[in-house]
């Protein structure tokens, strides 16, 4: 897939369709399972090219995941595609028992994840999926930041012998990885820019927002390291620790509840390692969520170019460079 550096790219769930079609041409075991979600999953082209490889289960997510487990146990490579809010909440027990506990290689693709559905209401948000799946044995969790990471995540899911949860949004995304020729990996973190003042560890669709904040901060002379951390579990602690040791303040951003997600995971890892750093975790706070378009809601909770830059300045003001404190 080409790597656009300017202008909006595709929504990550469109990358899902293109990547799955490409994989399916050489891998006869690939199946796509949907819960009346082929339209919302934009899987029309896949269904057209491989009509016999789509298994429709109707609006029944528990059965969807159980059937996928049965298919996987018989050597198929099932990709379960369903809105993240339903897939990871309603079918959580099937994910725990039929996928994780039984060790079936089910590829769980949560679409329109986080607060992608915007003003449709809290029923359609998935802001507890990181927490739920991080605590479910055997399920790695990946939240791609752009089309390149989305493609890499789907290819990784097809390649690994084991389950995987991939969380995809529905907004068209700019590429955050630039035009570097190095292949994009999602099983480790990537430093997208480096600077010694501030570190921002971001995952999923908040990575692009973090890059915007870093650009704004650079105009003030604040140099920022921005890390894309697509794999929320297991955590790339080596990159986390290295960045934390090099900066004066660290912010973690995620389109997820402040409970149980990347922010808490990073905080716990840093505390355990004994790395002191001024730290903020930004996510959806523990309160009834405000309604509105995705980006407006995120900005309301501090995950936007301006509020993130403002928070960074405040964090660094309270923690001046070490040379001046001696």
């Amino acid at each position: 897939m080409s790597r656009p550096t300017a202008g909006p790219g595709l929504a990550n769930l469109e990358v899902l369709d293109a990547t799955l079609r490409d994989l399916a041409r050489s891998d006869p075991a690939i199946r796509v399972l949907t819960a009346d979600s082929r339209v919302s999953g934009r899987l029309g082209p896949f269904a057209l090219e491989f009509p016999d490889r789509v298994v429709e289960l109707g609006i029944a997510e528990q059965n969807l995941v159980g059937v996928a487990a049965g298919l996987a146990s018989c050597g198929m490579k099932p990709f379960v595609v369903s809105p993240a809010c339903f897939l990871t909440a309603r079918a959580l027990e099937q994910i725990k028992v039929d996928v994780g506990y039984s060790g079936n290689s089910v590829r769980l693709i949560g679409i329109s994840a986080g607060i992608s559905y915007g003003a449709l209401g809290a029923s359609h948000h998935s802001i507890a999926d990181f927490a739920a799946l991080r605590a479910t044995p055997g399920i790695p969790v990946v939240a791609p930041a752009d089309n390149c990471e989305a493609e890499a995540a789907i290819r990784l899911a097809a390649a690994v012998d084991g389950p995987l949860y991939v969380r995809l949004g529905k907004r068209a995304l700019r590429c955050v990885h630039g035009s570097a020729s190095e292949p994009v990996a999602v099983d480790r973190a990537t430093r997208l820019r480096t600077g010694a003042d501030l570190g921002i560890i971001a995952t999923g669709e908040t990575v692009g927002i973090a890059l915007g904040a870093a650009t704004a901060l650079a105009l003030d002379g604040v140099e920022t390291t921005v890390v894309s951390m697509p794999m929320v579990r297991p955590l790339d602690t080596a990159t986390l620790f290295d960045v934390a040791r090099r900066v004066r303040g660290l912010v973690v951003t995620e389109e997820h509840s402040v409970h149980g997600g990347l922010g808490e995971a990073c905080a716990a890892a840093l505390m355990t390692e004994g790395i002191p750093v001024r730290f903020r975790a930004l996510g959806i706070p523990d309160e009834p969520i405000v309604n509105g378009p995705q980006l407006d809601v995120l900005a309301h909770y501090g995950i936007g170019t301006d509020p993130l830059a403002a928070l960074a300045r405040e964090l660094l003001d309270r923690n001046p460079p070490r040379s001046s404190t001696l």
């Binding site: 159980g66 027990e93 028992v97």
Partner: protein, 286 residues
């Protein structure tokens, strides 16, 4: 597969083993001081017939892609499964001594870490969906295997069972056979009082399944029914096996307290006599 009047002697052997498995179940439960006693006894005849007469599985073909599949959705009745697997040579009998011990593979619900057990269950309402997936895979791979799923009748209160039932008929899975261990009791009382699932025959028929109602302790009926499914190609089959919770042990039958109870020495001695009498009766008939 021969059944019925033309092979009475073989049926006696099978019935004797099914009787002995009841004692094996009690031995297992007594050794660990816990287990699902009566619910294991209600399905032990079905399991005996499945593993000794119906399923195309052997110790050599446990991982063969074309083997028949058995999923025990009522995973709590795992003691019956363990002893029948051991009896069929599919599970190392020495492992039975580790049941419920620290670090054991043999936990109190079916788990796929035990060789011979296809899938982990225990949370109710999961097995039929897994069976649907296995049946779809079998058809798409061009394999002739069948998939058998054992459910409890109390379990049928789980909505996911009916999601699976709907999808099995929708996908025309003639290679899927569900067996309901209809012992009409669950942990807190009679199923009819806790959550009435009847009329099951009409419900499954309305969902598009072929329905058989049999005596779940009549080995010949069990074998004939399971061996001949599907009666209608392209339709999933459900066998409503009428069973008795605590079957074969006089004082346990129909007594709800035996869902979980462990027999003491005196009770065990009575159970042993019940089983010995049953075996003598079977041999006398032969």
């Amino acid at each position: 597969m021969t059944t019925g009047d033309d092979d009475v002697r073989a049926d006696v052997g099978l019935a004797v083993r099914a009787a002995r498995y009841r004692l094996d179940v009690l031995d297992l439960i007594r050794s660990a001081g816990g287990g699902h006693t009566a619910g294991s006894l209600s399905c032990v005849d079905v399991l005996t017939v499945l593993y000794e007469r119906v399923l195309r599985i052997s110790p050599e073909t446990l991982r063969h892609p074309e083997r028949d599949r058995y999923v025990q959705s009522k995973g709590h009745a795992v003691e019956a499964l363990y002893v029948v697997l051991a009896g069929a040579g599919l599970l190392d009998r020495a492992l039975l001594g580790t049941y419920l011990r620290f670090g054991t593979k043999l936990v109190g619900h079916a788990t796929s870490s035990v060789p011979g057990i296809e899938q982990s269950t225990g949370a109710l309402g999961h097995g039929l969906s897994i069976g649907v997936g296995m049946a779809i895979a079998g058809r798409q791979n061009g394999f002739g295997y069948r998939v058998f799923v054992l459910l409890g009748d109390g379990e049928l209160a789980e909505g996911s069972v009916w999601e699976a039932a709907m999808s099995a008929a929708h996908h025309g899975l003639g290679n899927l056979v569900a067996i309901v261990d209809r012992n009409r009791h669950q942990i807190a009382g009679p199923t009819a009082e806790i959550m009435n699932s009847e009329p099951l025959a009409q419900k499954f028929a309305a969902f598009g399944w072929t329905v058989h109602e049999i005596d779940g302790h009549d080995l010949v009926q069990i074998e004939r029914t399971l061996s001949s499914a599907p009666a209608v190609p392209g339709r999933p089959t459900v066998v409503l096996a009428d069973t008795v919770k605590g079957s074969g042990i006089s004082y346990m039958e129909h007594d709800i307290r035996w869902h979980h109870r462990v027999p003491d020495d005196e009770e065990y001695a009575i159970a042993r006599r019940d089983v010995e009498n049953r075996i003598a009766e079977l041999r006398g008939r032969a």
